[in-house]
Amino acid sequence: MVDVLTTTESATDLVGGRFGRGGSTLRFVAAKIGGGLVSLVMVVVLGFFLFRAMPGNPVRTLIRDRPGDLEQVERLRREWSLDKSLFGQFVDYIVDLAHGDLGTSFKYRQPVTDLLWDRVGATVLLTGTALVLSVALGLWLGTRAAWRHGSRFDQLSTATALVLWSVPTFWLGLIVLIVFAVGLDLFPTAGMVSPGGVDGFFPSILDTGHHLVLPALTMVAVVYAQYLMVMRSSLLEEMNADYLTTARAKGLRDDDVRSKHAVPNALLPTVTIIFLHVGFLISGAVTVEKVFSWPGLGLLTYEAIQVPDYPLLQGSLIVLAGAVIVMNVLADIVYRLIDPRVRTS
């Protein structure tokens, strides 16, 4: 999180330095997009060599505990192009990529694009729900905590949030599972839909919603603290500003001073963080996926490392890193649009 913030700040400096003083917005946007593309190319190249430099032998992993012969070892190497030189494999990979083909998974023997696409929906559903809920909860609690900082409410909500933030996710998830799914018998113990699926459109949506409650709840509990803390501290900075005194002097109700004057000014850093977190949405939450057996992208990638399934890993990296890069570029652009100081400096 801190790293991400620093990046944005330096990006803001860049805006002020090179592109400020009436520099054309178009040039700015083009530069940002160009920078994003360069990063993406680096990811594409790095992904290929990084995973191949990692330890692991897919042939050995996938023939384990099965009758094997040397002919089969050769056959697999040929099928996966592992008999070619590293450079030859790299060229194939780049050429395929240029055609929009991420290759075929070693393990599943299916196009990587299909595998990823199938999992992206599941992950976005879980992390998206969790993001919306945790942002809403974090901002709300953060605003109130700052407004009455030092009060019992402030102490209690901040302490709770920080405790949940520092609890190991796996442990918290299991406790939630044991209490709500087994003890109270309210929710299922695994998956995104009931085994075998459910007939009908609304029942199937309800079924997915039913499965979504516990993983989303766990994720919210773990992450909402960061929004709370950022919102709380940026509002605290505004608390002593002169314009608030003016607003109070006009005779505004306390609630109005807060919601109409203080909060809008304090929102800026929070909005930036949220934007950047959207980029990390699809990398998901491997731990939550693992506890609740949620068939997401994070798990797919994690399991691919154990083979290692090179095409699947390369594909995941491009998608995961691509999302972060795109959101970073967007965040830079949006930041320029919404912050009057950046716009006019």
């Binding site: 330890p55 692991g56 032998n57 042939v59 050995r60 992993t61 996938l62 023939i63 099965r66 009758p67 094997g68 012969d69 040397l70 089969q72 070892v73 056959r75 075929t104 599943y108 023997r109 299916q110 196009p111 999992r119 929906g121 599941a122 976005v124 559903l125 729900t129 109130r144 409410f153 299991l174 599972l177 799914a181 087994v182 299922p188 113990t189 695994a190 998956g191 995104m192 839909v193 085994p195 075998g196 699926g197 009908g200 459109f201 609304f202 199937s204 949506i205 309800l206 997915t208 919603g209 039913h210 979504l212 409650v213 306390d254 996926e289 506890v291 057996s293 068939p295 798990l299 154990q306």
Partner: protein, 604 residues
């Protein structure tokens, strides 16, 4: 009906909005009771992945387990001892020269009612032999086949290049030609494109949700008779803790792959019966002899003292296996001596008592003294070059039992003057090091198939330094016996050779074979009973070389079956869960907003 995950995701957002807006949706959900199932469903949890359900390419354990339920082989492995018994073939006969096998195919039907013929079998084998993509999973089984032909609907003739004793344990799923002849791209075919998937086994695949669940229905046409369980579902759990909770709650009926702690914790639950089944898996410590590869190139950097059989024997004597079984495996293992586990009673070799190496530190010390490895000043023995003997022990970081074992072994080895350095590495790195021969000692373990051939082949000279090798062992006499057993079609005669080979491995201490590890399973005995274990005497229910466990299962009593059907209709539960979730949220919102109002009032 199935919806894509994206559509479903959008739907959930809409549904959430609708739920918040008002109770208008509730009548709809009550109507959903229509999907309640009236049949008996048994759910099996699995934590291992399914790679694909295409029997020509599936290699993962769960996938091949599902394959056994979907497709019958020519011959299957008996529940009693995994010896071959009739499957699709009701009888068979090798020719006098042992090169031609004639199988008589039984009168039976595919699940869609078409007759099963020898042509289906010939089609399957020829596809594997001629199409490299179809050879991915079972190419090894047909590598020695010359030709496979159906001389008529009931007769299948297989000619082999050389005599092949493992013929009857080849485990090749036979597929229906009238379905598979239309498949154009075997490699990317997942076998979940259309349902039901026509098959010949006890169950028929009727649904598959990748990464989540597989649904199978009883096959009315199964030649042994329809199974007692109507629907069998395999449900993916990503961790065994959640699976145990699923079992306690009743979301699943069988779990496997339990840890000793999980197994013990289930003891008090009256609805659950536990099974620590004798399994086909063993754990060993291999000793790198640094034998050259088949082409003569040098291979491996194992400590040279490991070439000395006296040292290998001494190390074996120094390990107190019963203590490991007791302290590390918590009783869920048996001390081992051989790489063919005793669940294969026909093949396993039992060392006679005068040869048996049991824990004896004095004997170990004596062997090392006699071999001339004197102790240095610090109590560590020195090798022939005068260097202290310090062995590296390779351990994969994801195996905590092996890490615990290594702590004991370090102590035991130091007691006989051998230094030990445990090297804990990621399992991928550990694999790489074993593959490169970059170790002295290494933990490993195998699941052994019903025919001893492939486990024995892993100890031959030609696989040294390849992905196939177990211990990089190489011995000319052993290789000669290996070829001899493969050509010996007389089962008792072959057993004798196979046992002789194991004796040779034992005498040469190809590895320190530690334990035969039991499989820890548990099931809802308030719902299901009749599981046939393999082997029949104290064996396993899941992970068999057969379908016996699931095929034998039956619901407990007829009344219980009705209960089961009722609990399958979980609509009230779903509605209850969602409603209580919203209620909880509303309560929190109300509580906080109340506080807030009080606070605001105080300020004013």
């Amino acid at each position: 009906m199935r919806f894509s995950k994206l559509t479903r995701g959008l739907g959930v957002c809409v549904a959430t909005a609708a739920l918040v807006a008002g109770p208008g949706l509730l009548p709809v959900t009550t109507g959903a009771a229509a999907y309640a199932q009236s049949d008996v469903t048994m759910r099996v949890s699995h934590t291992q992945e399914i790679d694909t359900l295409n029997p020509f390419t599936a290699v993962f354990l769960v996938s091949t387990q599902l394959g056994r339920l979907m497709y019958e082989f020519l011959t299957v492995n008996s529940a009693e001892s995994s010896s071959p018994e009739p499957g699709i073939a009701e009888s068979w006969e090798p020719s006098a020269d042992n090169l031609t096998w004639t199988f008589k195919i039984r009168e039976a039907k595919w699940s869609d009612g078409e007759p099963i013929t020898a042509k289906d079998a010939a089609f399957t084998y020829n596809l594997i032999m001629t199409n490299e993509d179809a050879a991915a999973a079972n190419g090894v089984a047909v590598a020695n086949y010359e030709s496979v032909t159906a001389t008529d609907d009931r007769t299948l003739v297989i000619k082999t290049k050389t005599p092949q004793a493992s013929m009857l344990s080849s485990e090749v799923p036979i597929v229906p030609e009238h379905v598979w002849s239309k498949v154009t791209d075997i490699k990317s075919f997942t076998n979940s494109e259309t349902f039901p998937v026509v098959g010949s086994g006890p169950f028929v695949l009727t649904g598959y949700d990748e990464g989540a669940s597989s649904t199978l229905k009883a096959n009315d046409n199964f030649w042994r008779g329809r199974p007692k369980v109507d629907t069998l579902q395999f449900v993916k759990y990503e961790n065994s803790d959640a699976a145990v909770q699923g079992l306690r709650k009743g979301d699943v009926d069988i779990v496997s792959g339990l840890t000793p702690a999980q197994y013990d914790a289930l003891a008090s639950d009256g609805n659950i019966t536990r099974n620590d089944g004798r399994n086909r898996r063993f754990t060993e410590i291999t000793m790198n002899p640094s034998n050259p590869k088949a082409d003569g190139t040098a291979f491996g950097n194992g400590n040279p003292v490991l070439k000395d059989v006296a040292v290998r024997q001494a190390l074996n004597y120094a390990v107190d296996v019963p203590t490991l079984v007791d302290r590390v495996k918590q009783g869920h293992s048996e001390p081992a001596t051989q790489l063919i586990p005793p669940v294969y009673s026909d093949w396993t070799y039992k060392p006679p008592s005068d040869k048996l190496r049991t824990y004896d530190a004095a004997k170990a010390n004596q062997l090392l003294d006699e071999a001339g490895y004197a102790k240095g000043g610090d109590g560590i023995r020195v090798d022939k070059q005068g260097k202290p003997i310090n062995l590296r022990l390779l351990i994969a970081s994801d195996n905590t039992q092996n890490q615990q074992t290594s702590e004991y072994i370090k102590e035991w080895f130091e007691a006989i003057g051998i230094g030990l350095t445990p090297e804990i590495k990621s399992s991928n790195q550990s694999n790489d090091d074993q593959n490169a021969g970059n170790f002295d000692l290494a933990f490993t373990g195998w699941s052994v198939g019903p025919d001893p051939d492939s486990m024995l082949a892993q100890q031959t000279c030609k696989v040294v330094g390849t992905e196939l090798s177990d211990s990089n062992f190489c011995n000319a006499e052993y290789d000669r016996l290996y070829a001899q057993q493969l050509a010996e079609l007389d089962r008792p005669a072959r057993q004798e050779i196979v046992q002789k080979m194991q004796e040779l491995l034992y005498d040469n201490v190809s590895a320190i074979i530690l334990t035969y590890d039991k499989a820890l399973e548990a099931y809802r005995s308030d719902r299901f009973t009749g599981f046939q274990t393999q082997p029949a005497d104290g064996g396993v229910i899941t992970g068999q070389n057969g379908y016996w466990g699931y095929y034998g299962a039956r619901p407990v009593g007829a009344e219980e079956a009705t209960d089961e059907a009722a609990s399958d209709n979980n609509t009230p539960l779903v509605v209850g869960g969602v409603v209580s979730g919203i209620a909880l949220l509303a309560l929190v919102v109300w509580g906080v907003s109340r506080r807030r109002r009080v606070g605001a009032d105080e300020r004013e």
